[in-house]
């Protein structure tokens, strides 16, 4: 439905949405949506104008990778790279191929992340955006490779890197190959760090498991979107382990800020502007101490 607002963006090199997916986003009708948090009925037109944030209670709905791109970067500035990489089924894991095909059809994406070069209010960046609708945003070989390619492009072009995450963790269906993507991406971040290039991580709802415990937590500046669940182990696992109830707001963005794990918590409306200001400060600072 965001497409209606932003027109048909030229950057979309991936397939357009299916009818099924439109229905998923707006389950109640094409006209209005019920807020997951305050149960208010919101007109979709209003919800879209408000960047999929509830105008009543400020609840942030989850948002697709394409819509996230549309609200974060300058129109028509996206140049995707690393397209021709597809997940295989190296373990011959039950139902994996079918799940991949379903996720592709549902999201119009080839994988749980898209990467490319783009501009944010004129500032050139390399950007990667994950999509929770693609198998829970899980990291398998392709996500690991694309994150690494984005990092390498940053090093090569010396453009700042922005990664916007949403993930359930490592992709179970790729077993240890998926776990090793944590090592691969973290090693690549080390090279980016050594090259002295700015890396901003934006963790959105939810970001957990192997993605939190690798590249997402290794940025120079970490932004958490308002209300996002950000965790290593999910709340259900913790509850089962310790067998007591969890504190109010546990593992939410605000909780992480309080415990010193993120630099700031931003509402969706503030992200593009804040990114611009961070990029500006870093650009002014370039080469003063060379």
């Amino acid at each position: 439905m965001f497409k209606d607002l932003f027109g048909k963006p030229k950057y979309v090199t991936v397939r357009t949405r299916t009818k099924q997916e439109k229905e998923d986003i707006s389950p109640d009708s094409r006209l209005w949506t019920k807020c997951n948090s305050c149960n208010q009925i919101i007109f979709n037109k209003k919800l879209v104008e408000n960047l999929l944030v509830c105008p009543e209670c400020n609840y942030h709905f989850r948002i697709s990778a394409k819509d996230r791109l549309a609200i974060t970067i300058d129109e028509d500035s996206f140049q995707e790279f690393g397209q021709e990489i597809f997940s295989t089924d190296p373990l011959e894991f039950p139902d994996y191929k079918e799940k991949l095909a379903t996720a592709r059809a549902r999201t119009g994406l080839d994988e749980a992340i898209i990467i490319g070069e783009a501009a944010i209010n004129g500032y050139q960046v390399v950007i990667g955006v994950m999509d929770f609708n693609f198998m829970g945003g899980s990291m398998g070989s392709v996500v690991g490779e694309k994150v690494t390619l984005a990092i390498e492009r940053s090093i090569e072009t010396r453009k700042p890197l922005i990664l916007i995450t949403t993930a359930g963790g490592a992709r179970m269906q790729e077993g240890m190959i998926a776990l090793m993507q944590m090592a691969k991406t973290s090693a690549a971040v080390k090279r980016l760090d050594d090259a002295g290039i700015l890396y901003i991580s934006i963790m959105t709802d939810p970001t957990s498991g192997g993605v939190t415990a690798s590249f997402a937590s290794l940025a120079d500046i970490i932004i958490a979107e308002k209300g996002a669940l950000i965790a290593f182990a999910g709340p259900r696992v913790i509850q089962q382990t310790i067998n007591t109830s969890l504190p109010e707001g546990f593992q939410r963005a605000e909780f992480l800020l309080e415990h010193g794990m993120v630099d700031m918590v931003l509402s969706r409306h503030e992200i593009k502007d804040t990114l611009t200001r961070i990029l500006k400060i870093h650009q002014v600072g370039v080469s003063n101490y060379d």
Partner: protein
């Protein structure tokens, strides 16, 4: 010991009891039944070979989790000639589930890291069943940086069900601690030798597991998630753990086939818990062999080789249609 007999070990133990019985009967009566005895012993050896040749993944996990399986402390005691444990992350506390220190193996200095499980319930409670908090990973990083400063190779032994999923662990940045270790370990200027000795539980294992050589004991496992959790998440049915265990490809043999690990270290017949001394000696031999080859590399070569080892990890295809054909890498997995 008697409390910890695995199901598939029972027929073997019954047979060896019979052998003992016959032996003492012979001694007592002064009879020569050595032919019978020999036959029984042959049968026992054959049975053992058969059982251990056809273990399924859940049975291997049982051996990996065996309470008498050698722990980090056992390996230290057997393979180090000299060892001093070092404590604390200098930030919050000392994690008893992940221990570390410095020592000598055959006169070669090593920095040691390892998850520490207990053998009794009481000991396990104090060791948190080998499940480390962020402090454990931060202590490990401190000791690794120290190893780098003094040009000591690092030996890291993995044996954990996973990093601890608790309130304090989350509050203090379990994810950040593991991520930071991965980032820093990728560029350490000294050799890092990793051995999974029992359970290799996901990120909690990997948090001290990025290295130049990754080895696994024959009956250990290394997995993105426990089969129980995998079955619960994917199929909403914990009863399907055995199915998940096979599907996840988590044994040493399967992971060697997938190119995730470099080497399998043989265990004594019946598993490391049957003969800890021999098990530790086999590990020592493998570690020293790998160190001998790594020590020939310059720091730059070492770091580059390590980087490329991980850079190249991943299986993907450039054509979606090939994915649907589904024949990719079939041989390699076998």
């Amino acid at each position: 010991m008697t409390n910890n007999i695995l199901d598939f070990e029972k027929p073997l133990l019954e047979l060896s009891a019979k052998i003992k019985e016959l032996q003492s009967f012979m001694d007592e009566k002064g009879l020569d039944l050595s032919e019978e005895l020999m036959k029984l012993k042959e049968r026992a050896a054959k049975l053992q070979r058969e059982i251990y040749a056809s273990l399924n993944t859940m049975q291997i996990i049982q051996i990996a989790r065996h309470p008498n399986r050698p722990t980090a402390r056992d390996y230290i005691n057997y393979i180090f000639d000299e060892f001093i444990e070092l404590h604390g992350d200098r930030k919050f506390s000392d994690d008893k589930a992940l221990i570390g220190g410095i020592g000598l193996i055959d006169n070669q200095p090593f920095t040691f890291l390892g998850h520490q499980k207990g053998k009794t319930t009481k000991e396990n409670l104090s060791r948190n069943f080998g499940m480390a908090h962020p402090e454990g990973y931060r202590k490990a990083l401190r000791l690794m940086k120290d190893a780098e400063k003094f040009k000591r190779p690092i030996l890291s032994l993995i044996n954990t069900p996973g990093a601890y999923p608790g309130i304090g662990a989350e509050e203090r940045g379990q994810a950040e601690a593991i991520a930071k270790n991965l980032m820093e370990m990728s560029a350490l200027k000294v050799p890092v030798i990793v051995v999974v000795t029992g359970e290799g539980g996901s990120g909690g294992a990997l948090g001290i597991g990025l290295g130049d050589r990754i080895m696994m004991l024959e009956y250990s496992y290394y997995s993105v998630s426990t089969p129980e959790a995998c079955a619960a998440i994917l199929w909403k049915d914990v009863e399907k753990a055995a199915e998940a265990a096979e599907a996840l490809k988590i044994t040493a043999k399967a992971l060697k086939g997938l190119g995730i690990i470099d080497r399998i270290i043989k265990e004594p017949v019946g598993g490391a818990h049957q003969n800890p001394e021999e098990a530790t000696m086999l590990l020592k031999k493998a570690v020293l062999e790998e160190y001998a080859s790594l020590s020939k590399l310059s720091p730059d070569e070492l770091i580059n080789q390590r980087y490329m080892k991980y850079r190249n990890l991943g299986v993907y295809n450039n054509d979606w249609n090939d994915v649907l054909e589904g024949e990719i890498l079939k041989e390699e997995v076998e």
